[in-house]
């Protein structure tokens, strides 16, 4: 019963990783690709960790999986923010709307 539930959650989590990969391959500019590659894996790692914990069902595994999930949620967001800022400052890709960050950086 728990094994089946864990297996289903593992498959759903892998589908999120696949979705992120499709987005990173198919979207047409770098901010869209970065958005796909940052948000998909957060949920994917969350679900795959949950599935692993449900399948193994032991205390050490659950603690380690919780650490992995928390670490991934924090570092994924921070890492893609750092990369996005460096893309904004060095490559200057075309934007869809007004550039509010430029006005803010010029006033400082």
């Amino acid at each position: 019963m728990m094994d089946t539930l864990g297996g289903v959650v593992l498959v759903i989590g892998s589908l999120f990783i696949l979705l992120a990969a499709v987005g990173a391959l198919r979207f047409d500019h770098i901010y869209a690709r970065m958005h796909a590659a940052a948000k998909g894996p957060a949920l994917g790692v969350l679900l795959i960790g949950l599935g692993t914990a449900l399948t193994i069902r032991s205390a050490p595994a659950t603690v380690a999986v919780t650490l992995v999930i928390v670490l991934q949620l924090i570092t994924g967001a921070v890492g893609s923010h750092m990369l996005g800022r460096s893309v904004y400052r060095s490559i200057h890709p075309p934007l869809d709307g007004p550039d509010e960050l430029a006005e803010r950086e010029n006033t400082n």
Partner: protein
């Protein structure tokens, strides 16, 4: 079920490798490498679920930290050198 998860993760890794090869800029390749590392993390987690042992999960922690540090270093590199 676990075999299906492995197959889906392999497909995802293939798509990330395609993005890694076609680029076109350095940040695109950084995104692809980061996604590939996350795919590896998920693969090790699924393998741990397959074997029902908690040993492999510590490896996932190390890979996650390595990926974060690598992304940070490459972001600084892109910022100073340009795409």
């Amino acid at each position: 079920m676990i075999n299906i998860a492995f197959i889906i993760l392999s497909l995802a890794a293939l798509l990330f490798v395609a993005r890694l090869l076609i680029g076109p800029s350095v940040p695109d390749r950084v995104i692809a490498l980061d996604g590939l590392l996350i795919t590896v993390m998920c693969g090790v987690l699924v393998a741990a679920a397959d074997e029902r042992s908690a040993i492999g999960i510590d490896t996932v922690l190390v890979v996650a930290l390595l990926g974060f540090i690598g992304t940070g270093v490459l972001a600084r590199y892109v910022e100073q050198r340009g795409g």
